[in-house]
């Protein structure tokens, strides 16, 4: 059971930080490891993106998902089959912000008599979008810990997020959505036999880790009540490069921070690099304009095919006999 191993690992990681901090490791879990992880993240992501960038794009291979631009009276699909750089940029942004391709998803079913049906299936799209946006908002809300005074935007987001004013402290909508969406993504991986078949540890671990982060965060906000003032002191110390470890922070905070630390350090070596990769995908970020403008391959090999002269030489007599014009008599 790959999924069990992943959760076990996350629980272990949390426990290490929890007890480690309790046993006096606050500086390690609160300062040293976060810095190390940040460096690993920055260097790792930069290296990854550079390694992609170093690979050439010899051919222009957009996957065209709509009508090409051809005759003036035929309406081209300028987003799904862009013929300009701008169009291609818009296409990528649509992928990034709206998961455009995932929105096309269909579900196939084999009916009796060997008939397939294909019906739209927006669940993965909705679940993925819910998770990513909730994650983004939660991420942005955390700026309240890193800045004094808390920026207006962050307050504004918090206001929106806590709009429903349920409970005290106010329950953030995104907390619920984040956990629910992660739960859904995990559930579908386990429920669908073929997804279960193809999933690796590397697919369960990020979900387990993110769930671990979300759940420990929820505990801290609604149940265990961390000492926000001290946590903020720690956070501001970190970003201002004057780290300090205030006393009396709950070990659960360190567990939470450590899981985030692991996520950050793990990021560049995992499938999570899709965050950067989505911008560079050659089937999405190139305009479908190869017949309009020449695309240059920097290493175009000097290959010459079987030339006409060679061909005419080989078939000379047959050509002559059948009256096909020749270059040489």
């Amino acid at each position: 059971m790959r999924v069990a191993w992943s959760f076990l690992l996350v629980v272990l990681l949390a426990a290490v930080a929890f007890f480690g901090a309790d046993a006096g490791g606050q500086a390690l879990f609160g300062v040293v490891l976060p810095y190390v992880a940040m460096v690993v993240f920055l260097v790792g992501i930069a290296a990854r993106v550079l390694s992609w960038a170093r690979s050439t794009v010899p051919f222009r291979i957009p996957t065209t998902c709509g009508q090409q631009r051809s005759l003036p009276w035929i309406k081209p699909a300028s987003l799904d089959n862009p013929s300009t750089g701008r169009g291609a940029a818009a296409r990528v942004l649509l992928e990034v912000f709206a998961f455009r391709s995932l929105f096309r998803n269909t579900r196939s079913e084999l009916r009796p008599g060997g008939r397939f049906t294909f019906s739209p299936d927006k669940w993965l799209w909705a679940g993925a979008l819910a998770f990513h946006y909730a994650f983004l908002v939660v991420f942005l809300r955390h700026y309240r810990f890193f800045a004094e005074p808390v920026p207006a935007v962050v307050r504004w987001i918090e206001g929106l997020d806590g709009f429903f004013q349920v409970g005290l402290p106010v329950v953030y909508l995104t907390d619920i959505v984040l956990v629910a969406a992660l739960g859904f993504l995990l559930w579908r991986r386990l429920e669908d036999a073929r997804l279960r078949y193809l999933s690796l540890h590397a697919d369960y671990f990020p979900l387990a880790l993110l769930l671990g982060i979300a759940v420990s965060g929820v505990l801290l906000r609604y149940f265990v009540r961390a000492d926000v003032v001290r946590v903020k002191e720690l956070a501001i110390g970190l970003v201002s490069l004057h780290p300090a470890v205030p006393q009396g922070i709950s070990p659960l905070v360190f567990a939470h921070i450590f899981l985030v630390t692991v996520l950050i350090a793990y990021f560049p070596f995992s499938k999570l690099v899709h965050m950067a990769g989505v911008f560079l995908s050659p089937t999405r970020n190139l305009a479908n304009d190869t017949r309009m403008r020449r695309h240059v391959n920097p290493w175009n090999p000097a290959i010459v095919g079987h030339t006409y002269a060679e061909w005419e030489h080989e078939f000379h007599d047959k050509l002559k006999a059948s009256g096909i014009p020749l270059d040489e008599e």
Partner: protein
């Protein structure tokens, strides 16, 4: 035809096996009917490709070069630097499974390794092992596998079980194109001499004679003359195509199947009739006598090598621009590779229709125009006299061929033509056409007889949709703009929907086209009687 009946073939088991996918095991003997024969040594020798030998996938020993692992490792390293697509696609997949049930081979076979994501994992697992730190350290836990002979055999099986149709790429949130992965995996396989004859023989033929079928110039001319005679019988009009004529305005390049075998020949007759009716100054070439390019199923270098002839010949003949016939993978090459590989075509002129004066600005650089673009423009400008009632014996649907749909986007042009030349046109269900079209199951060199079971399985989703419109609207003609389609869909229909015939779009243009000097047309180009009276649409 395979021994299995239709009812047997549709008993598809989608339950994944107990055995984990990381543990390869393919019994080629038991899986006859689902793989293609290896390339004959003589073809490899002619092409100068590595490791020519006689062998069979059922052999225990595949007679690989001694250092085959190193060759593949080095080949992969080289391609990771050369193709950002490959590197990125190997890195970013999240295994969300959106592509899983999009592949016709998965749908038709239930074999989980035909899910595009797992097809790619076959290579990705080796990439992890050889090129990533995590893979090196974690091994199997990190999804990494060593390249063992069993893994290599699995590559051979599954990378020659992908038609490079790109349907998966449409649905992937990162545009991961398993066709691209397959293309590069086949390049690696070629390095150690693992290839299939149905790809390599056409490549060798094309290199030598000018076309996949190995038709030599005198036979080329005979074939064309035969078709000209046939066309005269059907229409009373004698067309006069020229071959290798210098100074013509256009070079016209078609897939060789169009002048070789049914039903492509009727499409060819349609082209000739059209060009004749308009008095277009064009020539065919016996040297560049192939539009298709099986290099696409071999390696990028081979694409370039075969495609070289088209510009080379256009330059020699001194034509202004090039017109291309109906063919799927041909147009992937022309649209996405030709100019980059063999351009710039600065010896040609930006294409302008000699009849309407329309400038084909979308082909300004490559200078090659698709015959459907050409004809749609003619119809729009009212340059053709069309009598769609002459197609009233046909109830037509249109199959978007994979490459023109997903590597070009020529969706409306053929539809516009069809709506102008037939009265009864019906679309197949939405999720099976346009960019979501289903493959014929026999592209990328898989359209051979020994692979028949897999072809029929892979073609099932397409056949299903045809059957749907056949039952609902009485459709009896499947039109398409691809030469491979015309060949393999014919077989597919015979098996799954025998009431339906296959044809090119220009065959239907040829049926409907009224020309000066024609005799009263009471048959179509196939010699079949037309429907009762004209306008007698719904018989």
């Amino acid at each position: 035809m395979p021994e299995k009946t239709r009812d047997e073939l549709v008993q598809i088991d989608f339950k994944p096996p107990e055995r984990e996918w990381m543990d390869p095991a393919i019994d080629f003997e038991a899986r006859r009917g689902t793989w293609s024969y290896p390339a004959a040594a003589k073809n490899l020798r002619y092409l100068g490709f590595p490791n020519p030998r006689e062998w069979s996938p059922t052999d225990e020993d595949w007679q690989l070069p001694e250092n085959w692992q190193q060759i593949i490792h080095d080949g992969l390293a080289e391609r990771l630097n050369k193709y950002r697509s490959l590197k990125l696609f190997l890195d970013v997949c999240v295994r969300c499974g959106a592509c899983a049930d999009k592949c016709h081979f998965y749908l038709g076979s239930g074999d989980p390794k035909n899910m595009p994501v797992l097809r790619a994992e076959l290579l990705r697992s080796v990439y992890r092992n050889d090129f990533t730190t995590a893979g090196r350290i974690l091994g199997r836990i990190g999804g990494a596998r060593k390249l063992t002979p069993a893994v290599l055999k699995e590559w051979f099986y599954y990378f020659y079980q992908c038609t490079e149709c790109r349907r998966c790429s449409v649905f992937c949130p990162y545009g991961i194109d398993t066709a691209e992965i397959t293309m590069l995996a086949r390049e690696l396989l070629n390095l150690v001499g693992l290839n299939i004859n149905w790809v390599i023989e056409p490549v060798a033929n094309c290199d030598r004679t000018g076309n996949h079928l190995g038709i030599q110039p005198h036979t080329f001319k005979d074939n064309i003359e035969f078709l000209v005679d046939e066309l005269e019988d059907a229409t009373g009009v004698r067309v006069d195509p020229s071959i290798n004529r210098k100074g013509a305005e256009l070079l016209f390049v078609v897939p060789s199947a169009d002048y070789f075998a049914e039903p492509g020949i009727y499409t060819f007759m349609g082209y000739l009739l059209l060009l004749h009716a308009l008095g277009v100054d064009y020539t065919l070439s016996a040297y560049a006598s192939e539009g298709g390019n099986f290099g696409l199923f071999t390696s990028h270098d081979t694409i370039k090598r075969l495609n070289y002839k088209i510009y080379h010949e256009a330059k020699r003949l001194g034509v202004k621009w090039i017109l291309g016939g109906e063919c799927g993978h041909m147009w992937r090459v022309i649209h996405q590779y030709m100019d980059t590989m063999n351009g710039p075509a600065d010896f040609l002129e930006p294409p302008v229709s000699p009849i309407t004066g329309t400038a084909f600005t979308n082909a300004a650089a490559t200078k090659m125009v698709h015959v459907c673009e050409f004809t749609a423009d003619l119809i729009k400008h009212g340059k053709l006299r069309l009598d769609p009632a002459r197609n009233d014996h046909l109830r037509v649907t249109f199959h978007d061929s994979c490459n023109p749909a997903r590597a070009m986007g020529i969706l409306e042009e053929p539809r516009y033509i069809l709506r102008s030349v037939v009265n009864n046109f019906f679309e197949m269900p939405e999720n099976t056409i346009r960019e979501q079209t289903f493959c014929c199951g026999g592209g990328a060199g898989l359209g051979n007889d020994e692979n028949m079971e897999m072809r029929l399985r892979g073609g099932l989703p397409r056949a299903n949709a045809v059957r749907f419109v056949h039952e609902k609207h009485g459709v009896n003609r499947l039109a398409c703009i691809c030469a491979i389609d015309r060949a393999v869909l014919t077989t597919l229909m015979e098996y799954w929907v025998p009431e339906v015939d296959v044809s090119g779009v220009h065959e239907l243009v040829g049926n409907a086209l009224a020309i000066d000097g024609e005799k009263p047309r009471n048959t179509d180009l196939r010699g079949r009687p037309l429907a009762g009276g004209k306008g007698d649409a719904d018989a």
